[in-house]
Amino acid sequence: MTTPGEVLLKVDDLTVEFDTPHGPVRAVDGVSWQVRAGETLAILGESGSGKSVSTQALTGILEMPPGRIVSGTAEYRGADLIAMTVKERRKIVGDRITMVFQDSLSALNPVQSVGTQIAECYRVHRGLSKKDALKRAAEMLDQVRIPAAARRVRDYPHEFSGGMRQRVMLAMALALDPDVLIADEPTTALDVTVQAQILELIADLQAERDMGVVLITHDLGVVSDVADNVVVMYAGHVVERASTAEALDHPVHPYTEGLLGSMPSADLKGQELPTIPGTPPSLRAIPSGCAFRTRCPMAIDECAKEVPPLLTVAPGRDAACILRTSISEREAV
């Protein structure tokens, strides 16, 4: 069991590359973050920013090759998942650290009943008998508030609605009372109302278990609703790290600022919604220096020189922008 506030998963300087016919492509570059018991950490970024790749790499489910971990550690309670053998890692991933994916229809095995798939966790990691495992699976379905769970345990994934199927995914991920849940865009494919229900369910179950949650999303709204802390990623780099409240109120990095600015809100009614100009860079052609500079409204020549380091601007607040971090450092002095 976890003690409150304990650091459960600590990722440090993780770099992942993909081998492509056009040479290696760096999808994740020097990413660090950590999640504590009871905490919800959101990793925010557009598609291609490397947010999913980082978690898939540390849990070992990334296809390697073509993927390759260049450097970095990912410590689960002090044990480095990346340095471990596959066998050792399997005792943690799937048991203490579990995952939920975006598209529940394709993420569940279509020819196995949901009960069998949930029961498989108990069978493999706990060695329960088939009968006991199925009984526990039904209990789990009940816990994620699927009506008539005892009967539905025999149903197949395609027989559930999108929201119910995502609950099944959750039941499977939470079956073994994990310490860390990594939810990769768990609500993206769902209707807004169902989305809220699922997020609420995750929050409730998290509170019951004092579990750490890593929530990967591109939706700032989701972040503001449920996350305690947020890590903003752009083109494989962490550009800002802060508590959710601070990041939303006083974004430091221009990218975070741009994201916030392009959120529709009541204040902006009647005005044209501001957007970040341009499109995210292809990982094959990331601009030199700061990857965001080509879209940044306040970019200066210095930005092209080197990749801005992630610097602490205030306690618990880091950002990677030479303009903002150096200015605030100067102000701090």
Binding site: G60, V93, N109
Partner: protein, 308 residues
């Protein structure tokens, strides 16, 4: 399930009617008088000719011929061939020959196709995988006819490992060579499909989920990848099964095996309308049954198509 089967059988009835009627029309639209052709230059006594004409309902209007033939067929009165052989006896002799050939050919084809396909799929991009892809391309490209002849010449005539033709050496020696040839022509497609299917399935999201559940690779392979990857393979195996009787026509005529395919072929040559229709109907029934079996098996392994 029973309703599903009944519905399929009901749907097959009109198709069966059209198919048999079509074959019957084609056969009887064939040029020439079947009886005269059979007799060749020899004069036939008028009385014999008349008897034969009556037996085959040759003097009735077309549609009556058809209905009478159908009635005879379904009541088991197959009659005799023009040459006087009892058709029921012929079937009794020939069905086992074709069945033995088809079964053995299928066994070779399925075992080779699945083994190679599974191996290549599991060890994709390895040396064996590449070799296999090349080999299957060549096998698919070389026409069946060439393959059968080459096999016959190489293993029968030159190396003398197996009988060249006929059934003198009995089961299973006489059947080995033609069955191996059928197996070789058929296995390549199955192997390629199996491989493609495994590779595709191994990249699907639920395999990622299984990995995230901390399952071992073996378990992932056998419990998650294979059951899904084999779905299209089962369909192809069914198609192969249904098609093997057409392939038997070729194999039986090259290797001179007295089976149904050869019977069919001779019947067409001799304009034995009744026999052609009978054998076509048999082929059709077989086809429907096999497809039904494939659908039932498919329903058993893929929950998504149940209750449809």
């Amino acid at each position: 399930m029973i309703r599903f089967i009944l519905r399929r059988i009901l749907a097959a009835i009109p198709i069966g009617l059209i198919v048999t009627l079509g074959v019957f029309a084609l056969v009887f639209a064939m040029p020439g008088d079947p009886l005269r052709e059979l007799a060749g230059d020899k004069p036939i006594p008028a009385a014999v000719l008349a008897a034969k004409r009556a037996q085959y309902h040759l003097d009735d209007p077309f549609i009556v011929q058809y209905l009478l033939s159908m009635k005879d067929m379904f009541t088991g009165h197959f009659g005799t061939t023009f040459a006087g052989a009892d058709i029921a006896d012929q079937l009794r002799l020939r069905i086992p020959v074709t069945l033995k050939l088809a079964t053995l050919g299928l066994v070779f084809q399925w075992i080779a196709g699945l083994l190679f396909g599974l191996y290549a799929g599991f060890k994709r991009n390895g040396v064996m995988d590449r070799l296999l892809l090349l080999a299957t391309l060549v096998v698919l490209a070389v026409p069946g006819l060439v393959l059968y002849f080459t096999g016959q010449y190489l293993f029968g005539v030159e190396l003398k490992w197996l009988p060249v033709s006929g059934t003198r050496d009995g089961w299973p020696m006489s059947y080995l060579l033609p069955a191996i040839c059928i197996g070789i022509t058929g296995f390549a497609g199955l192997a390629r499909l199996t491989r493609t299917s495994i590779v595709d399935t191994a990249n699907s999201d639920f395999v990622k989920t299984a990995r995230a559940k901390g399952l071992g690779e073996q378990r992932i392979l056998w419990r998650h990848v294979l059951p899904n990857a084999l779905l299209p393979v089962v369909t192809l195996m069914g198609i192969d099964f249904a098609g093997i009787f057409a392939g038997a026509v070729l194999a039986e005529s090259i290797f001179n095996l007295p089976g149904l395919g050869q019977f069919m072929f001779q019947a067409i040559k001799l304009k034995e309308g009744g026999v052609v229709v009978l054998l076509s109907t048999l082929a059709f029934l077989m086809f429907i049954l096999i497809n039904l079996a494939v659908d039932v098996i498919y329903g058993a392994i893929d929950p998504r198509v149940r209750n449809v």
